[in-house]
Amino acid sequence: MKEIKWYFPDNLKEVSALFKKDGVIPHGGGTGILKASMSSVKGLIDLALLPLGFFRVNNGTIEIGAAQTYAEVIENMRKIDPEHILVKALSVSASTPLRNRITVGGSIALFPPWSDLMGPLIALEADISLYGSREGDFNITSYVNDRHLARGNLITGIKINRDRWTGYYYRETRTHFDYPAFTVTILLKKAGKVIEDTRIVIVGCTGRFRRLLELEEYIKGRDAGEVEPGGISEKIKIDFTGKKSLSPGYIRHLVKVRIERGLATVLGN
Protein backbone atom coordinates (compact mmCIF):
# COMPACT_ATOMS: atom_id res chain seq x y z
CA MET A 1 0.00 0.00 0.00
CA LYS A 2 1.05 3.60 -0.52
CA GLU A 3 1.12 6.48 1.98
CA ILE A 4 -2.38 7.23 3.25
CA LYS A 5 -3.37 10.48 4.90
CA TRP A 6 -5.40 10.14 8.08
CA TYR A 7 -7.98 12.71 9.17
CA PHE A 8 -9.59 12.87 12.61
CA PRO A 9 -12.52 15.31 12.32
CA ASP A 10 -14.68 16.08 15.36
CA ASN A 11 -17.64 17.56 13.49
CA LEU A 12 -19.71 16.62 10.45
CA LYS A 13 -19.01 19.86 8.54
CA GLU A 14 -15.35 18.94 8.48
CA VAL A 15 -16.26 15.50 7.09
CA SER A 16 -18.22 17.13 4.26
CA ALA A 17 -15.18 19.18 3.27
CA LEU A 18 -12.94 16.10 3.39
CA PHE A 19 -15.34 14.16 1.16
CA LYS A 20 -14.59 16.62 -1.64
CA LYS A 21 -10.99 15.39 -1.75
CA ASP A 22 -10.26 12.67 -4.28
CA GLY A 23 -9.85 9.11 -2.91
CA VAL A 24 -10.80 9.96 0.69
CA ILE A 25 -13.19 7.50 2.38
CA PRO A 26 -14.59 7.09 5.91
CA HIS A 27 -13.03 4.68 8.41
CA GLY A 28 -15.25 3.14 11.09
CA GLY A 29 -13.89 -0.19 12.34
CA GLY A 30 -11.65 -0.74 9.33
CA THR A 31 -12.46 -4.43 8.79
CA GLY A 32 -14.16 -3.82 5.43
CA ILE A 33 -11.46 -1.45 4.20
CA LEU A 34 -8.74 -4.00 4.98
CA LYS A 35 -10.60 -6.64 2.96
CA ALA A 36 -11.19 -4.35 -0.02
CA SER A 37 -8.71 -3.06 -2.57
CA MET A 38 -6.88 0.00 -1.24
CA SER A 39 -5.37 1.02 -4.58
CA SER A 40 -7.55 4.11 -5.04
CA VAL A 41 -7.61 5.15 -1.36
CA LYS A 42 -5.60 8.29 -0.68
CA GLY A 43 -7.02 9.24 2.68
CA LEU A 44 -9.06 7.83 5.56
CA ILE A 45 -11.46 9.85 7.69
CA ASP A 46 -11.53 8.28 11.14
CA LEU A 47 -15.04 8.62 12.56
CA ALA A 48 -14.13 7.89 16.20
CA LEU A 49 -14.40 11.52 17.36
CA LEU A 50 -17.80 12.11 15.76
CA PRO A 51 -20.97 11.62 17.84
CA LEU A 52 -22.15 8.59 15.86
CA GLY A 53 -22.05 5.94 18.59
CA PHE A 54 -25.60 6.57 19.80
CA PHE A 55 -28.46 4.15 20.45
CA ARG A 56 -31.75 5.92 21.08
CA VAL A 57 -35.33 4.77 21.53
CA ASN A 58 -37.99 7.45 21.07
CA ASN A 59 -41.66 7.45 20.12
CA GLY A 60 -41.67 3.97 18.67
CA THR A 61 -38.47 4.51 16.68
CA ILE A 62 -35.06 3.02 17.35
CA GLU A 63 -32.09 5.08 16.13
CA ILE A 64 -28.71 3.41 15.85
CA GLY A 65 -25.57 5.45 15.17
CA ALA A 66 -23.34 4.46 12.26
CA ALA A 67 -20.38 3.93 14.60
CA GLN A 68 -22.18 1.36 16.76
CA THR A 69 -20.44 -1.99 16.43
CA TYR A 70 -22.35 -5.25 15.93
CA ALA A 71 -21.52 -6.15 19.56
CA GLU A 72 -22.95 -2.85 20.82
CA VAL A 73 -26.12 -3.24 18.74
CA ILE A 74 -26.65 -6.76 20.12
CA GLU A 75 -26.05 -5.52 23.69
CA ASN A 76 -28.40 -2.52 23.37
CA MET A 77 -31.10 -4.29 21.38
CA ARG A 78 -31.19 -7.25 23.81
CA LYS A 79 -32.23 -4.83 26.58
CA ILE A 80 -35.39 -3.80 24.72
CA ASP A 81 -36.22 -6.96 22.73
CA PRO A 82 -34.02 -10.07 23.16
CA GLU A 83 -35.83 -11.80 20.29
CA HIS A 84 -35.30 -8.93 17.83
CA ILE A 85 -34.19 -9.98 14.34
CA LEU A 86 -31.04 -7.83 14.63
CA VAL A 87 -30.04 -9.73 17.80
CA LYS A 88 -30.60 -13.06 16.02
CA ALA A 89 -28.72 -12.09 12.86
CA LEU A 90 -25.78 -10.17 14.29
CA SER A 91 -25.14 -12.69 17.09
CA VAL A 92 -24.21 -15.33 14.51
CA SER A 93 -22.20 -12.99 12.33
CA ALA A 94 -18.39 -13.29 12.06
CA SER A 95 -16.76 -13.79 15.49
CA THR A 96 -16.61 -12.10 18.90
CA PRO A 97 -13.51 -9.97 18.14
CA LEU A 98 -14.84 -8.97 14.71
CA ARG A 99 -18.28 -8.12 16.10
CA ASN A 100 -16.44 -5.73 18.43
CA ARG A 101 -15.08 -3.91 15.39
CA ILE A 102 -17.56 -4.14 12.48
CA THR A 103 -19.75 -1.02 12.44
CA VAL A 104 -23.30 -0.54 11.19
CA GLY A 105 -22.28 2.33 8.88
CA GLY A 106 -19.41 0.41 7.31
CA SER A 107 -21.58 -2.65 6.73
CA ILE A 108 -24.26 -0.63 4.95
CA ALA A 109 -21.76 1.33 2.87
CA LEU A 110 -19.94 -1.76 1.66
CA PHE A 111 -22.90 -4.22 1.62
CA PRO A 112 -20.81 -7.34 1.00
CA PRO A 113 -22.76 -10.35 -0.39
CA TRP A 114 -22.17 -12.15 2.94
CA SER A 115 -23.71 -9.33 4.99
CA ASP A 116 -25.72 -10.44 8.03
CA LEU A 117 -27.04 -6.93 8.56
CA MET A 118 -28.64 -6.08 5.22
CA GLY A 119 -31.33 -8.80 5.12
CA PRO A 120 -32.80 -7.76 8.49
CA LEU A 121 -32.55 -4.03 7.66
CA ILE A 122 -34.35 -4.50 4.33
CA ALA A 123 -37.03 -6.61 6.04
CA LEU A 124 -37.43 -3.95 8.76
CA GLU A 125 -37.72 -1.27 6.03
CA ALA A 126 -35.05 0.74 7.82
CA ASP A 127 -34.26 4.33 6.93
CA ILE A 128 -30.64 5.34 6.39
CA SER A 129 -29.70 8.81 7.67
CA LEU A 130 -27.21 10.64 5.46
CA TYR A 131 -25.17 13.79 5.94
CA GLY A 132 -23.69 15.59 2.95
CA SER A 133 -24.88 16.61 -0.49
CA ARG A 134 -28.13 14.59 -0.15
CA GLU A 135 -28.83 15.05 3.55
CA GLY A 136 -31.90 13.29 4.98
CA ASP A 137 -33.44 9.88 5.66
CA PHE A 138 -33.70 7.38 2.80
CA ASN A 139 -35.36 3.97 2.70
CA ILE A 140 -32.68 1.30 2.67
CA THR A 141 -33.87 -0.22 -0.61
CA SER A 142 -33.60 3.18 -2.33
CA TYR A 143 -30.17 3.68 -0.81
CA VAL A 144 -28.89 0.30 -1.99
CA ASN A 145 -30.34 0.72 -5.48
CA ASP A 146 -29.11 4.30 -5.98
CA ARG A 147 -25.34 4.37 -5.68
CA HIS A 148 -25.37 8.17 -6.24
CA LEU A 149 -26.70 8.46 -2.69
CA ALA A 150 -23.50 6.92 -1.35
CA ARG A 151 -21.24 9.43 -3.12
CA GLY A 152 -20.36 12.49 -1.08
CA ASN A 153 -22.61 11.43 1.77
CA LEU A 154 -21.78 10.00 5.16
CA ILE A 155 -24.07 7.43 6.76
CA THR A 156 -24.75 8.82 10.23
CA GLY A 157 -27.20 6.18 11.43
CA ILE A 158 -30.30 4.09 10.82
CA LYS A 159 -33.90 4.35 11.99
CA ILE A 160 -36.22 1.39 12.47
CA ASN A 161 -39.75 1.13 13.81
CA ARG A 162 -40.08 -0.48 17.20
CA ASP A 163 -42.64 -3.03 15.99
CA ARG A 164 -42.94 -6.48 17.56
CA TRP A 165 -42.25 -9.11 14.90
CA THR A 166 -41.68 -12.82 15.17
CA GLY A 167 -38.41 -13.32 13.35
CA TYR A 168 -36.40 -16.07 11.67
CA TYR A 169 -32.84 -15.74 10.43
CA TYR A 170 -30.74 -18.31 8.63
CA ARG A 171 -27.27 -18.13 7.10
CA GLU A 172 -26.00 -20.93 4.85
CA THR A 173 -22.43 -21.80 5.81
CA ARG A 174 -20.29 -24.93 5.89
CA THR A 175 -18.69 -23.96 9.20
CA HIS A 176 -19.83 -21.31 11.70
CA PHE A 177 -17.14 -18.85 10.69
CA ASP A 178 -17.68 -19.21 6.94
CA TYR A 179 -19.10 -16.39 4.81
CA PRO A 180 -22.73 -17.33 4.08
CA ALA A 181 -23.68 -18.36 0.54
CA PHE A 182 -27.06 -16.75 1.23
CA THR A 183 -29.15 -15.52 4.14
CA VAL A 184 -32.90 -15.76 4.75
CA THR A 185 -34.75 -13.21 6.88
CA ILE A 186 -38.45 -13.68 7.68
CA LEU A 187 -40.57 -11.34 9.81
CA LEU A 188 -44.19 -12.08 10.65
CA LYS A 189 -46.81 -10.24 12.66
CA LYS A 190 -50.15 -11.73 13.68
CA ALA A 191 -53.38 -10.13 14.90
CA GLY A 192 -55.03 -13.01 16.71
CA LYS A 193 -54.81 -15.89 14.24
CA VAL A 194 -54.65 -13.67 11.16
CA ILE A 195 -51.30 -12.83 9.57
CA GLU A 196 -51.26 -9.06 9.61
CA ASP A 197 -47.94 -8.56 7.84
CA THR A 198 -44.89 -10.49 6.71
CA ARG A 199 -41.56 -9.67 5.08
CA ILE A 200 -39.23 -12.16 3.44
CA VAL A 201 -35.74 -11.19 2.22
CA ILE A 202 -33.01 -13.25 0.58
CA VAL A 203 -29.46 -11.86 0.42
CA GLY A 204 -26.81 -13.45 -1.82
CA CYS A 205 -28.95 -13.97 -4.93
CA THR A 206 -28.44 -12.37 -8.34
CA GLY A 207 -28.77 -8.62 -7.81
CA ARG A 208 -27.43 -9.01 -4.22
CA PHE A 209 -30.83 -9.19 -2.50
CA ARG A 210 -34.48 -9.84 -3.21
CA ARG A 211 -37.61 -9.17 -1.20
CA LEU A 212 -40.14 -11.91 -1.97
CA LEU A 213 -43.16 -9.64 -2.39
CA GLU A 214 -45.20 -12.25 -4.27
CA LEU A 215 -44.92 -14.69 -1.37
CA GLU A 216 -45.57 -11.93 1.18
CA GLU A 217 -48.78 -10.98 -0.66
CA TYR A 218 -49.90 -14.62 -0.78
CA ILE A 219 -49.44 -15.05 2.99
CA LYS A 220 -50.76 -11.69 4.23
CA GLY A 221 -54.32 -11.65 5.52
CA ARG A 222 -54.61 -15.42 5.80
CA ASP A 223 -55.35 -17.40 8.93
CA ALA A 224 -52.01 -18.70 10.25
CA GLY A 225 -53.40 -22.23 10.50
CA GLU A 226 -54.36 -22.20 6.82
CA VAL A 227 -50.84 -21.48 5.54
CA GLU A 228 -49.04 -24.71 4.75
CA PRO A 229 -45.29 -23.96 4.45
CA GLY A 230 -44.48 -27.27 2.70
CA GLY A 231 -44.25 -26.56 -1.05
CA ILE A 232 -45.07 -22.84 -0.63
CA SER A 233 -41.67 -21.80 -1.93
CA GLU A 234 -42.45 -23.30 -5.34
CA LYS A 235 -44.15 -19.95 -6.01
CA ILE A 236 -40.77 -18.20 -5.85
CA LYS A 237 -38.63 -17.35 -8.84
CA ILE A 238 -35.14 -16.43 -7.70
CA ASP A 239 -31.73 -16.78 -9.34
CA PHE A 240 -28.27 -17.40 -7.99
CA THR A 241 -24.82 -17.53 -9.47
CA GLY A 242 -22.81 -20.64 -8.62
CA LYS A 243 -20.37 -20.73 -5.73
CA LYS A 244 -17.18 -22.76 -5.40
CA SER A 245 -18.93 -25.93 -4.24
CA LEU A 246 -22.61 -25.09 -4.82
CA SER A 247 -24.39 -24.95 -8.18
CA PRO A 248 -27.08 -22.26 -8.74
CA GLY A 249 -29.78 -24.96 -8.81
CA TYR A 250 -28.62 -26.46 -5.53
CA ILE A 251 -28.50 -23.06 -3.83
CA ARG A 252 -32.04 -22.37 -5.08
CA HIS A 253 -33.16 -25.69 -3.61
CA LEU A 254 -31.50 -24.88 -0.25
CA VAL A 255 -33.13 -21.43 -0.17
CA LYS A 256 -36.58 -22.90 -0.76
CA VAL A 257 -36.10 -25.46 2.02
CA ARG A 258 -34.99 -22.73 4.42
CA ILE A 259 -37.90 -20.45 3.53
CA GLU A 260 -40.36 -23.27 4.24
CA ARG A 261 -38.66 -24.13 7.55
CA GLY A 262 -38.51 -20.45 8.47
CA LEU A 263 -42.18 -19.94 7.75
CA ALA A 264 -43.06 -23.00 9.81
CA THR A 265 -41.03 -21.49 12.68
CA VAL A 266 -42.62 -18.03 12.60
CA LEU A 267 -46.12 -19.40 12.01
CA GLY A 268 -45.71 -21.75 14.96
CA ASN A 269 -47.24 -24.55 12.85
Binding site: K2, H27, G29, G30, L44, A48, S95, T96, P97, R101
Partner: protein, 155 residues
Protein backbone atom coordinates in the same frame (compact mmCIF):
# COMPACT_ATOMS: atom_id res chain seq x y z
CA UNK B 1 3.31 8.73 11.15
CA UNK B 2 3.94 9.05 14.86
CA UNK B 3 1.65 8.24 17.74
CA UNK B 4 1.51 7.57 21.46
CA UNK B 5 0.30 4.10 22.36
CA UNK B 6 -0.67 2.90 25.82
CA UNK B 7 0.42 -0.73 25.87
CA UNK B 8 -0.12 -2.69 29.09
CA UNK B 9 -0.25 0.52 31.08
CA UNK B 10 2.94 2.04 29.62
CA UNK B 11 2.93 4.92 27.14
CA UNK B 12 5.33 4.67 24.22
CA UNK B 13 5.91 6.98 21.27
CA UNK B 14 6.11 4.99 18.05
CA UNK B 15 6.76 5.74 14.36
CA UNK B 16 4.71 3.62 11.98
CA UNK B 17 3.51 3.47 8.38
CA UNK B 18 0.12 5.03 7.70
CA UNK B 19 -1.26 1.71 6.45
CA UNK B 20 0.26 -0.43 9.26
CA UNK B 21 -2.02 -2.66 11.28
CA UNK B 22 -1.84 -2.80 15.06
CA UNK B 23 -0.47 -6.36 14.98
CA UNK B 24 2.68 -5.25 13.12
CA UNK B 25 3.17 -2.25 15.38
CA UNK B 26 2.93 -4.38 18.52
CA UNK B 27 5.27 -7.11 17.31
CA UNK B 28 7.82 -4.61 15.98
CA UNK B 29 7.84 -2.98 19.42
CA UNK B 30 8.52 -6.08 21.46
CA UNK B 31 5.05 -7.50 22.04
CA UNK B 32 5.81 -10.87 20.47
CA UNK B 33 3.20 -12.51 22.70
CA UNK B 34 0.72 -11.15 20.12
CA UNK B 35 0.94 -13.93 17.56
CA UNK B 36 0.68 -13.51 13.80
CA UNK B 37 -1.53 -16.17 12.25
CA UNK B 38 -3.83 -15.63 9.28
CA UNK B 39 -3.73 -11.79 9.10
CA UNK B 40 -7.36 -12.00 7.95
CA UNK B 41 -9.20 -11.83 11.26
CA UNK B 42 -10.10 -15.49 11.23
CA UNK B 43 -7.73 -17.30 13.61
CA UNK B 44 -7.72 -15.02 16.66
CA UNK B 45 -4.05 -15.59 17.54
CA UNK B 46 -3.42 -11.83 17.34
CA UNK B 47 -6.28 -10.66 19.58
CA UNK B 48 -5.69 -7.86 22.08
CA UNK B 49 -7.95 -5.72 24.22
CA UNK B 50 -8.55 -2.28 22.75
CA UNK B 51 -10.16 -0.08 25.40
CA UNK B 52 -11.26 -3.33 27.07
CA UNK B 53 -12.83 -4.88 23.96
CA UNK B 54 -11.41 -8.00 22.32
CA UNK B 55 -10.28 -7.22 18.74
CA UNK B 56 -8.17 -8.88 16.05
CA UNK B 57 -5.09 -6.64 15.96
CA UNK B 58 -4.52 -7.63 12.31
CA UNK B 59 -7.87 -6.00 11.46
CA UNK B 60 -7.20 -2.68 13.19
CA UNK B 61 -5.24 0.13 11.56
CA UNK B 62 -2.51 1.24 13.99
CA UNK B 63 -3.42 4.90 13.34
CA UNK B 64 -6.91 4.29 14.72
CA UNK B 65 -5.56 2.73 17.94
CA UNK B 66 -3.28 5.61 18.96
CA UNK B 67 -4.14 6.99 22.38
CA UNK B 68 -6.29 3.98 23.31
CA UNK B 69 -5.61 1.41 26.03
CA UNK B 70 -4.06 -1.71 24.51
CA UNK B 71 -3.75 -4.84 26.63
CA UNK B 72 -1.89 -7.94 25.50
CA UNK B 73 -1.82 -11.26 27.35
CA UNK B 74 1.35 -10.07 29.13
CA UNK B 75 -0.67 -7.21 30.56
CA UNK B 76 -2.95 -9.48 32.60
CA UNK B 77 -0.25 -11.72 34.09
CA UNK B 78 3.16 -13.28 33.55
CA UNK B 79 5.13 -16.37 34.54
CA UNK B 80 6.04 -14.84 37.94
CA UNK B 81 2.55 -13.63 38.68
CA UNK B 82 0.11 -15.48 36.42
CA UNK B 83 -3.54 -14.56 36.09
CA UNK B 84 -5.90 -17.34 37.34
CA UNK B 85 -6.89 -17.99 33.71
CA UNK B 86 -3.26 -18.53 32.73
CA UNK B 87 -2.76 -20.89 35.70
CA UNK B 88 -5.92 -22.81 34.81
CA UNK B 89 -4.74 -23.25 31.21
CA UNK B 90 -1.44 -24.72 32.46
CA UNK B 91 -3.08 -26.87 35.16
CA UNK B 92 -5.69 -28.42 32.89
CA UNK B 93 -3.41 -29.17 29.93
CA UNK B 94 -5.12 -26.66 27.69
CA UNK B 95 -1.80 -25.66 26.13
CA UNK B 96 -0.20 -27.82 23.47
CA UNK B 97 1.78 -25.91 20.82
CA UNK B 98 0.75 -22.71 22.62
CA UNK B 99 0.29 -20.54 19.54
CA UNK B 100 -3.41 -19.89 20.17
CA UNK B 101 -3.02 -19.60 23.96
CA UNK B 102 -2.51 -15.81 24.28
CA UNK B 103 -5.68 -15.25 22.24
CA UNK B 104 -7.66 -17.90 24.07
CA UNK B 105 -6.63 -16.47 27.47
CA UNK B 106 -7.68 -12.94 26.45
CA UNK B 107 -11.01 -14.18 25.05
CA UNK B 108 -11.64 -15.99 28.34
CA UNK B 109 -10.57 -12.89 30.30
CA UNK B 110 -13.17 -10.76 28.46
CA UNK B 111 -15.87 -13.34 29.06
CA UNK B 112 -15.18 -13.75 32.79
CA UNK B 113 -15.06 -10.00 33.35
CA UNK B 114 -18.65 -9.74 32.09
CA UNK B 115 -19.91 -13.15 33.17
CA UNK B 116 -18.16 -14.81 36.14
CA UNK B 117 -20.19 -18.02 35.90
CA UNK B 118 -20.57 -18.83 32.19
CA UNK B 119 -22.38 -21.83 30.77
CA UNK B 120 -20.51 -24.05 28.32
CA UNK B 121 -22.33 -22.55 25.30
CA UNK B 122 -21.35 -19.07 26.50
CA UNK B 123 -17.69 -20.15 26.71
CA UNK B 124 -17.92 -21.59 23.18
CA UNK B 125 -19.40 -18.31 21.92
CA UNK B 126 -16.68 -16.28 23.66
CA UNK B 127 -13.90 -18.22 21.93
CA UNK B 128 -15.68 -18.38 18.55
CA UNK B 129 -13.01 -16.17 16.98
CA UNK B 130 -10.07 -18.23 18.25
CA UNK B 131 -8.90 -21.31 16.38
CA UNK B 132 -6.91 -24.11 18.04
CA UNK B 133 -5.53 -26.84 15.79
CA UNK B 134 -4.14 -29.02 18.63
CA UNK B 135 -6.49 -29.49 21.52
CA UNK B 136 -9.95 -29.97 20.04
CA UNK B 137 -11.10 -27.28 22.52
CA UNK B 138 -12.14 -29.74 25.26
CA UNK B 139 -9.28 -28.82 27.61
CA UNK B 140 -9.59 -25.12 26.77
CA UNK B 141 -13.26 -25.08 27.76
CA UNK B 142 -12.37 -27.03 30.91
CA UNK B 143 -9.64 -24.47 31.73
CA UNK B 144 -12.11 -21.57 31.42
CA UNK B 145 -14.53 -23.36 33.76
CA UNK B 146 -11.74 -24.00 36.30
CA UNK B 147 -10.57 -20.37 36.08
CA UNK B 148 -14.13 -19.11 36.55
CA UNK B 149 -14.59 -21.29 39.65
CA UNK B 150 -11.27 -20.19 41.17
CA UNK B 151 -11.96 -16.52 40.45
CA UNK B 152 -15.43 -16.76 42.03
CA UNK B 153 -14.06 -18.51 45.11
CA UNK B 154 -11.17 -16.10 45.55
CA UNK B 155 -13.14 -12.96 44.73
Amino acid sequence: MEGIFKINGKEIKVSFKSDAVLLSLLRENGCTEVKEGCREGECGSCVVLLDGRLVNSCQVFAASAAGKEITTVRGIGNIHSPHPIQSAFADSGAVQCGFCTPGMVLAAYCLLKKNPDPREDEIIEAIDGNLCRCTGYVKIIEAVKIAAKRMRENG
